[in-house]
Symmetry: C2
Subunit: 202 residues, 2 copies
């Protein structure tokens, strides 16, 4: 029962992801989102939006990448997506240490499996990692400016429509339907006044 005990200890440490708080609120604005429920939402998005990935994308792999991708935050904390380059470098060292500490709780074969999943997401070299990253970029936009989204101008007055378009282009432009949707969503938010914009969209 040694393997099972190690696996369950790992899973109980992973419970802490529910206490890592993100900078995004729930869609209804009632509270900040945590990284565990965020990971669930992304995995559900992967299943629901699978037709927007190129043919041949392994959606089950995308789901596994998403279930695991934020676990290092248990030791390293969440990173605001508009962080500086120096901040990003420091964060990335912390996350590598966090990955060894956390996945090292598992039996060696599984440590390797989880480390590989996490590295695949981070390296952004496969189409599965690209799609996972695109969903991770899109989800907070949906919560904040999609549907009845309240925006986040009070918390982040610097987040203009232009800055968002600039930051989100890289992860999203590989997926034309998602990128078109994201741009339309920001145009509508600018028209409704839920995001600051230098130019008034048509």
């Amino acid at each position: 029962m040694e393997r099972l005990a190690a696996q369950i200890h790992f899973l109980l440490v992973c419970d802490q992801l529910k206490t890592v708080i993100r900078t995004t609120t729930l869609h209804d604005g009632s509270r900040y989102e945590n990284s565990a429920e965020h990971s669930w939402h992304l995995a559900l998005m992967a299943v629901t939006l699978s037709e927007h990935a190129p043919k041949g994308t392994d959606i089950q792999k995308v789901v596994r990448l998403l279930l695991v991708h934020d676990l290092v935050e248990i030791h390293a904390g969440d990173t605001f997506f508009a962080v500086s380059a120096a901040g990003l470098q420091e964060q990335s060292e912390k996350e590598a240490q966090a990955a060894s500490a956390l996945f090292g709780l598992l039996p060696a074969d599984q440590q390797q499996e989880f480390q590989t999943l996490w590295e695949e997401f981070e390296a952004q070299e496969t189409r599965e990692a690209h799609f996972a990253k695109a969903l991770d970029a899109l989800q907070p936009m949906l919560l904040t400016w999609g549907g009845n989204g309240l925006g986040c101008t009070e918390r982040h007055p610097d987040l203009t429509r232009e800055k968002l378009l600039d930051l989100k282009q890289k992860p999203l432009q590989r997926f034309p339907s998602l990128w078109a949707y994201a741009r339309q969503l920001l145009d509508q938010a600018a028209s409704r006044g839920t995001i600051p914009s230098a130019t008034v969209p048509d």
Copy 2:
């Protein structure tokens, strides 16, 4: 863009699963768990504990069942696992209505896909549904009495070790290693005094 708009509307309604509160607390006891983060934890358990399912179990299917299985709670609420038979019947009608309302937001082919996943979990006729259910039965036990679990005697004085063994046998006994672990966990909790027990285990 009509399909994508429907899919995203569905995903924004699904955000509400983050506000459905369960009767279990996080492992550190700091707050109650919600059904979205619970679903993430179960999906991660499926990946981590896959070797404890019989050979040939489709773990990716188990993950999809788990991502979707609680969604009906958005409209129907969570059910305490020790509810009465009459209460269960009423809950099950509410959940069937909730499934049509929620999955009906999706394009017809996907409505069918999600409805089928949800029904497969509920029907408990496939080994994937059995494994998903076993994890759903085990996870709150881990949070409450595993590791440094604090128990829940104040909130649920009626939950004795004997009652738990009785309630958890059905979902767990198909998986010998998990069932052995669960029994050991309850024995240890009884010895530590974090669960009431009529008999003192060896």
